[in-house]
Subunit: 360 residues, 2 copies
Amino acid sequence: MARKGRHSSIVDVAEAAGVSLQTVSNVFNFPERVRPLTRDHVLQVVKTLDYTPNLSARRLRSKKSSSLAVRVDSNSTPGFFRGFIQDDFVYELTEAAERRGIKVIAYTAESETQEVEKLKKLIKSKDTDGIILTTTKVNDPRLSFLEMNNVPFLSFGRPWGAEDLYSVTHPWVDIDGASGTAEATAMLWKKGCRNIGFAGWVSSHSADGVPQSVDEDRYLGWKNTSGKLSGKLTRRSDPGFNGLAVFGEQSVASGRQAARRLLDAVPDLDAVVCVSDTMALGCLLEFQRMGKQAISITGFDNSPIAKEFGFSSLDQNLPAVSRGALEILMGETGNEIRKVDFAAENTAAHILLKPMLVVR
Amino acid sequence: MARKGRHSSIVDVAEAAGVSLQTVSNVFNFPERVRPLTRDHVLQVVKTLDYTPNLSARRLRSKKSSSLAVRVDSNSTPGFFRGFIQDDFVYELTEAAERRGIKVIAYTAESETQEVEKLKKLIKSKDTDGIILTTTKVNDPRLSFLEMNNVPFLSFGRPWGAEDLYSVTHPWVDIDGASGTAEATAMLWKKGCRNIGFAGWVSSHSADGVPQSVDEDRYLGWKNTSGKLSGKLTRRSDPGFNGLAVFGEQSVASGRQAARRLLDAVPDLDAVVCVSDTMALGCLLEFQRMGKQAISITGFDNSPIAKEFGFSSLDQNLPAVSRGALEILMGETGNEIRKVDFAAENTAAHILLKPMLVVR
DNA sequence: CTGAAAGCGCTTACAG
DNA sequence: CTGAAAGCGCTTACAG
């Protein structure tokens, strides 16, 4: 019975149940400390009074916000790619967080400098215990800020180009793009394709065969597998790999162009592994136009585009990514977001997940 | 100087500035109550100490969360439509909310019943002052729950089919679809098109010409304008309007089919107004395939698809939608989310915005 | 315009 | 296993 229209408080529950305040508190926070009989009785009263703890009070006292902040972005950025992924990532992250009793706060930022200011506010105002970053780069001001201030954080995506990709000061969760395109290539080979091309974004590749970007990672998966299967492995630095790889930018038009160039170079082309669904759509449409529907195509992201146009694609498995993110931030079973000393605790600071090939 | 690594509090600021606690508090909450000289001095100290108010403490005391909750959805729902809009809506809403000092909390739900439970928790735990709903329907359990509990809320989208669309108990902000397709139709006419078709979703339309759904609203905009301009206005109940309207479902394949059917019925077709970008893409691709590139097409949403494929589309103007949402919830200049008695206060409970035609 | 006190609703030591 | 007290960091009356 909440008095006078206000919500019932822990005091109301304690009184109604005939126990002290912190017995009620314990029922919620340390149920094992309370005798089962008492616990059940308290829970019954909680139900009757429809009591829900006031989270501001809890946060103030416990000094834990039990919240996570994530930046949301506008979809106005060119290419389909970002939007599809972000939408689902925020959804899956929120879902996974709720399962572990964590709230997700959205924030926006127009630049990384502005983002640092926003992060500072979020943290100093005690509104969040941790941060999920989505696109980190070398010398990212957000990273140095978070590290300096000892704020738990993690990035979705490896810090490509960093000196040490596996530094314990920069935890991350990511999708293994190379393994994905390798799987796609193998699937196509198994299906009987023998001239499997690649349509990517950036043609400049590192000489040592160590990927420096998302697209290079995906390119190498195709290159190595394709080379192995066909026995046509060339020297590592060969970007084009027998002229079967072409590069452009993240657009349908670029995908169309890639399709034409590949077909020019290799008339008996029978499949193309694409770095993204957008590129894949371009290839698909161009091959359709040319009456070359028989050429198989795979994309990346398993976006609604892939589903709609019915081509195979690599699903980033965002539910698993989100679960992994929370495992890094909270441990496998913990219920609080804390700054982990990964080196000392010997727990994973980095999770690399295989994407799932969805064959259509 | 925060003591021992913890963040500085209002007490630290008061001490350092040599004023009382609530002079500091006033500087933040009622600056006009503080003498300018004192105010500047306090603000200087705030800056030096890098002080940010603890929001949990503020919320607990003030009984305002200054937060808004919005459901985020998975993009796995069929069709491109939802995803594009949601992504941008959450972004624009967060941006607009931040401008007015409001946080946005994301939550998920698998069903409306489950959503009611989540809403209950959010409200009773004092985590949110208001709710933004995104797809309401007749007899929506969320609506009755929110109304009963006197929770400030608003829906993005009109409650199609409700007894009274403009009931003050159900505030909303929406896009005027009819005005959008009317504008698109007029633009095409002006351009010289004389056989302008329509590709929609649902063919069953109300007899009285009052739209009962998003798609019917958009259909009527085309129908009325097209009829007026061509002088071929038929009876209101005629769904097909001279055979120039065809209906299908939200998919590219359905758009392709619509294109074929329209062209079959009207060989000299020169334009198609589409209910969505997805349908428009289908039309575009099919016309390309048939060598009928001259036929103009307009879509709805101005999604990345429209930009990518270069067809005209109606932008939902989500920044304006978001600003409107906050005006309804907070008033034009207010700084708190409150339950408005729209009838008594004589302020708008409903905002209908014109979409913006982006011509390509 | 400024100050000293009370209190929002919890959890956290600490005592029994 | 349970209880009485203290206190998290603010804002809100209220007094001057």
